[in-house]
């Protein structure tokens, strides 16, 4: 009896130490957390004052453009942080509004279609004005670049051949064929005006099914090339269009409108020299340049930040 009691006491003491050690380790770990995730979580994640937060959507060209903007701003001595790969416009626009992101590469007509699905798109300038009128008060567009990257519907070579469609064919020519085709695109393409909705409303296209892929990325490229889908939403600056001989259909009704690369910024977030820096980038960025830079990232697998820095330097903006 006595011996049991004694042994249980020594054990107890030993375990007591162990428990304290465990608790201490746990406390240490949790202690670290408060230091590491410094922002108040319930506050969202507001940009720090004086720092420009450049965001990007979840596709390679958006990352590249964000890097170009960010590095151009850094070259002017501004403090820049990045928030990459956030998601689709549906998400990034919200983060622009609540101040988590200050600068975002956008496409003027695509943004307009998001803000006002019914808007007519007659010219790039008119689109910019229409966007500014529809934007949240705290946001504005800077000058658009001539570089254009639209959504488009592309067919793979086999499908185009089978139905006698060429690069001269239009989306309207797809009407009779569409019910036999599976179309692919980003998940958001399914519900956008510049997507399935518009294709049906404007061209009367009803596809057999929709397959959700990524935003013009490797999944889309591979799915189209391997005939997992016969048609897909492909960006016009996609270097694989030429490589895989995809057939891009013409869009006479201008459903996909204008899509000039344009910085979307928060008015209070960017000082004047920043505005000038981004306008200078827009002035130098044309479609051919963008195609070339995209190919460096997507085909040659160069790092977007390196590509951005090299181009800024060659354009005298770095």
């Amino acid at each position: 009896m006595t011996s049991t009691a004694r042994s249980s006491r020594t054990r107890t003491r030993h375990h007591g130490a162990a428990a304290v050690a465990l608790a201490a380790a746990a406390a240490l770990l949790t202690g670290c957390s408060s230091g590491d995730t410094s922002e108040n979580p319930l506050d969202g994640d507001k940009a720090e004052a004086g720092t420009v937060v450049v965001g990007s959507n979840n596709f390679a060209e958006s990352t590249l453009l964000a890097d170009i903007y960010g590095e151009a701003l850094r070259a002017k001595g501004l403090k820049v942080t990045y928030k990459h790969n956030i998601g689709s416009r549906e998400t990034t626009y919200g983060l622009m509004k609540n101040g988590s992101v200050t600068v975002l590469p956008e496409y003027n007509g695509s943004l307009l279609a998001y803000l006002d699905p019914k808007a007519e798109q007659t010219s790039a300038d008119a689109v910019d004005e229409a966007v500014k009128a529809k934007l949240d008060q705290q946001l504005t567009l800077l000058e658009s670049s001539p570089a254009e990257d639209k959504d488009s519907v592309a067919l793979n070579a086999a499908t185009a051949k089978k139905h006698g469609l060429t690069a001269e064919s239009t989306l309207a020519d797809l009407k009779d064929v569409a019910p036999e085709l599976v179309i692919g695109g980003s998940p958001e393409f399914q519900t956008r005006q510049q997507g399935l909705k518009g294709l049906e409303a404007v061209y009367g296209l009803k596809f057999k099914a929709f397959k959700a892929l990524d935003a013009g990325g490797p999944l889309t490229q591979a799915a189209l090339a391997q005939n997992e889908v016969q048609a897909a939403d492909v960006f016009t600056t996609d270097p694989t269009i030429v490589k895989e001989k995809f057939v891009v259909l013409k869009d006479p009704e201008n459903l996909f409108g204008f899509a000039n690369v344009t910085p979307l910024v928060r008015k209070d977030g960017l000082p004047q020299e920043g505005v000038e820096a981004l306008n200078a980038v827009s002035a130098k960025l044309d479609t051919k340049t963008l195609l070339d830079l995209d190919a460096q990232v997507q085909l040659e697998k160069k790092d977007p930040l390196d590509v951005a820095k090299a181009w800024l330097k060659s354009a005298g903006l770095g």
């Binding site: 549906e90 980003s186 998940p187 959700a212 490797p218 591979a222 997992e228």
Partner: protein
């Protein structure tokens, strides 16, 4: 709007009940992926687990394999498989099977090992062949544990099969991924509810199967 009203909105929208993106077809896809993955995992884990458990050899090897498999992240395996193999069901089956084999394998092994040796020896003494010892004595006693391993595997598969949608497959994950990119909470919450309900149904099914096939004498209290 709170979460419940999103759920209500999702399920009362008739558009969510028909076509290739309707709840019935997405649910069916999800169940198909899950059953297939569970069947493959069981086809690998059960025989190996029974055999090693019966002979008592290979326990260390099983622990090593199971721990290694458990350490592999499903999402990464999925991306890797799609990049290397391309589209289809196979790249989705790889992470799901890798996820499900360890619980089936380890639990089966441990379940057979844990059977009281006395009745096993008695069976041998009565002249039973080894296969009969395994299937007539060890398996019935080990069954509750073996089922629990299958149940763990099934639950993990049902919840993880949602990531198939990230690489363009169907299933209930479709609603969650689409809802994320379309900023449509109704879809996210609706999809999550369906997955959670499917998990709970899976639990209930296993409970029911357990009542049916486990002999009352060995049922755990």
């Amino acid at each position: 709007m709170n979460v419940l009203s999103f759920v209500q909105a999702f399920f009362s929208d008739s558009a969510h009940w028909q076509g290739y993106d309707g709840i019935p077809s997405r649910l069916l896809e999800h169940v198909q992926y899950s059953l297939l993955a569970l069947a493959i995992a069981a086809a690998i884990g059960l025989p190996v687990g029974l055999l090693t458990g019966h002979t008592g050899r290979g326990g260390n090897a099983i622990a090593v394999v199971a721990n290694a498999a458990r350490a592999l992240p499903s999402f990464g395996l999925l991306v890797l498989a799609v990049l290397l193999i391309g589209f289809g069901l196979l790249p989705v089956m790889i992470p799901l099977v890798v996820l499900a084999v360890p619980p089936v394998l380890v639990t089966t092994y441990e379940a057979v090992r844990a059977v009281d040796p006395a009745p096993v020896d008695a069976a041998r003494g009565m002249g039973m062949r080894e296969s009969r010892v395994l299937f007539r004595v060890e398996v019935p006693v080990a069954l509750p544990l073996i089922l629990s391993g299958l149940r763990t595997a099934a639950l993990q598969i049902v919840s993880t099969a949602t990531i198939a949608a990230y690489v363009s497959l169907g299933g209930l994950g479709r609603y969650i991924i689409d809802g994320l990119y379309q900023r449509n909470y109704e879809k996210v919450v609706g999809g999550a509810t369906l997955v959670a309900v499917l998990s709970l149904i899976t639990l209930a099914l296993f409970w029911g199967v357990g009542r049916l096939v486990v002999s009352p004498g060995v049922r755990r209290r």
